[in-house]
Symmetry: C2
Subunit: 274 residues, 2 copies
Amino acid sequence: MRWATVRHPDGSTNAARVEADSYIELAAPDVGELIRQSAVGNDAAETGRTFSSGDVALAPVVVTPGKIICVGRNYMSHIRELGRELPDYPTLFAKFTSTLIGAEDVIELPADATTVDWEAELAFVIGRPTRHASPPEARDAIAGYTVANDVTERTWQFRTAQWLAGKNLEASTPVGPTLVSPDVVDHAEDLEVRCLVDDIEMQSARTSDLLFKPTDIVQYISEFISLDPGDLILSGTPGGVGHAMDPPQYLNEGNVVRTSVEGIGELVNPCRKH
Amino acid sequence: MRWATVRHPDGSTNAARVEADSYIELAAPDVGELIRQSAVGNDAAETGRTFSSGDVALAPVVVTPGKIICVGRNYMSHIRELGRELPDYPTLFAKFTSTLIGAEDVIELPADATTVDWEAELAFVIGRPTRHASPPEARDAIAGYTVANDVTERTWQFRTAQWLAGKNLEASTPVGPTLVSPDVVDHAEDLEVRCLVDDIEMQSARTSDLLFKPTDIVQYISEFISLDPGDLILSGTPGGVGHAMDPPQYLNEGNVVRTSVEGIGELVNPCRKH
């Protein structure tokens, strides 16, 4: 199964089931709410409207997740390349919902930001209330997988010990284009994750290189806080970010960022100074 | 003006206006929603029910803020005492809504957490949509002030470079008892902030010692992301936390934490292992 959140010309949104090139609209405002309703046994009805892929604008797959939790430093090859030890615990930080944009939306570069970087990531959405999860419960807690780019302002990220400012640029973080159920991608155990900027490949890695797998991340978070249907988790980015290049390279007006995860889909986001 | 969020026996909540010892119930589910409605020109009507202070249970003043942003290392005397330079930017991190509890609720100590600490703080709530705020706009963006305790698991906080895990214990962070409008406390420019554990004073400082004032914090955050009505901001804690004592001291089963800000009110929260 695949789902998306379609955005109508008036700005309102609906969840949709995606079949081949058709978006079958559902009576829920987004995929997050579809999951919340489903978690309490209410399956959203079809509205009767269907769109073709050329006719839809996509919103973030989940528009108002209760939590957005991101993982840092999670690809083993990248950690080793940096000369670091493999950590015992995932490095976690948060984003707010107004950072999220749709699969083809503009990435807004703040006028005074000169060090904005890309971070292609496998992301996933929680499907049921989860606390103190066992490994099987953690696996069952995942409603589906999607693609995200954890776009980051490096200067602002490192102004203090905590990364929040650089990780929370308004309208910076594409999520989509669809959410796919775990069976479609075999729980994302070995998928290619890529990022291209203006058609030049910057990042390419496989999710089999993730140190903390999605189920590990769910287990760890659920030790200290409840996870709820619709919560969005970004699993971390591999090597190849612009900040680590020599010389460093950053996003500029007019760049087009392509972010993909094999078997899930591609985000295509132009950058614009504002 | 003073407002609170009252919790009914069935778990539902309502905003209330507080006058002397009376809680005059309003037709909004919490103070956050009251502020959101007011921001679009809809003042919530009274429901006709009034409670006396002995009869009400209090929920977090804002139950589902869109953002909870906390500031670290913000009292100048405390920064100097640690031998650190005064920073140029506020250190920011996030909490999730299920960390929040009411003014007399139990602080839940996880069964395997042995280093849970107190952090008394002045907090405030945003009253209007705010982006790229000037100093006067930042001041006008504050709907009111309240009290919080940013209860923290120190071991979990320092497991990685990012503090999220230790800062996000489920049901750990009291916020209340009331929200007071800025005029009542002169924009919280010089109020005493205190924390007592089992009636022993652990923290005592004045908000005049804050390096980044509430308006500075609003200005800084609004440079990178929009602030919205109901968003909750915790302004940082002064010296006197248990982790910095010799030997360190932490919260245990049965401890009672009293957190107060002069002119606003007091939180009284017992600790319980669970």
